[in-house]
Symmetry: C2
Subunit: 190 residues, 2 copies
DNA sequence: AAACAGTGTTCAGTATACTAAACACACAAA
DNA sequence: TTTGTGTGTTTAGTATACTGAACACTGTTT
């Protein structure tokens, strides 16, 4: 980050998105609405404690209020021959699926970037015996259940499992979570 | 984050690691050394602006001072059969390579988590015609050069290229960068 | 129209973040 | 010993973050 954070804009934006009034946010966060108003209009230099309370009140991570909002992610390829690399995005049930791998690899190896809205979950029936999935958490935390095992993963954590048992990925937190997924279709048997 | 950040501890830790005195950090950051001392011993509730200045002085991201230090990442598998999944880690030239994929997949598909210290870079000669690499940035920013194309990637960005030209991944920033890499050995030709 | 209930903003007072300077303690050099 | 140079801490004063209350500006209801 090269430039001081625009906290005001961020709080303002998220508060509007949540459709909260200053009074409500004040109650939830324990910060006076006078202060909220002044912070949003960049009239003051809030303390970390105050911003942290606001983050709690908004159910976001502290960093989400301090970081520039550069979330929209670029996807591209340096190799012209593979430029067909699909930029497709599907959105459903609070989950945005971005397909990273080129179309030519379908049915062999696929890579996705999954964005989970708060409390979104992705449940899968057992399928494709032999297929494996590899998860790496890029942001936030998710809870992954495979059969009757469950694991809580945070950023940087990695998990691999076979898809022949039912499995689910859940974002039980109140923050957005992003996970990188590689699906490998079994090359050997079948 | 459930608990207010322990800014003091973080600053203290990083400053010691950098072997900086309060005077020096004060100069670099523009924050008085009196304030630095009080912040480190949790006697005050600093403003965001102040903490931001300190982050600049320390050459770290603002978030690194506010977040709990839970960086050590877990790697494991829910599938007992694949428990041989190597937890190997190599460290060299400021780059930590964690192998994610199970050993059984070697020579076919490999997955890594690469941690780049500030200014670390990974240069590769052209090799294995047909082999492809897929990068996803998990933290920070890196500059990737393939042949004479160069791209600056930030968190969430994805990039794919063929390995038959020389390529390099560089972390030119002053912060740690983490990238997820999938290497796919060409199945068709060869 | 008046009275109301909701919004966000501005005001006056107080608590405190922040600074410059003085301080205390270490270790080294004379 | 004294004198110095470095460390981090504490002090006193000023700037300002923060609060509760009053305010202004909607739109609705009677």
């Amino acid at each position: 980050m090269q430039t001081p954070p625009m906290i005001g804009k961020n709080i303002q934006r998220i508060r509007s998105a949540r459709k909260l009034t200053l009074n409500v946010l004040s109650e939830r966060s324990g910060v006076s609405k006078a202060m909220l108003s002044q912070i949003e209009s960049d009239k003051v230099n809030p303390t970390v404690a105050t911003v942290w309370k606001i983050a709690r009140g908004l159910n976001v991570e502290l960093n989400d209020l301090l970081e520039a909002d550069d979330e929209p992610k670029r996807v591209f390829s340096l190799n012209p021959a593979a430029e067909e690399s699909s930029k497709m995005e599907k959105k459903q049930n609070g989950i945005t699926i971005r397909i990273l791998s080129p179309l030519s690899m379908v049915e062999e190896l696929e890579m996705y970037l999954l964005t989970f809205e708060p409390h979104a979950s992705l449940e899968s029936e057992p399928h494709y015996s032999g297929t494996q999935e590899y998860l790496t958490v890029v942001k936030g935390t998710v809870k992954v259940t495979v059969g009757d095992n469950t694991a809580e993963l945070k950023r940087g954590d990695f998990l691999m499992y076979h898809c022949d048992t039912e499995h689910a990925i859940r974002n039980e937190s109140a923050q957005v979570a992003i996970v990188h997924m590689v699906v490998r279709f079994s090359p050997d048997r079948r």
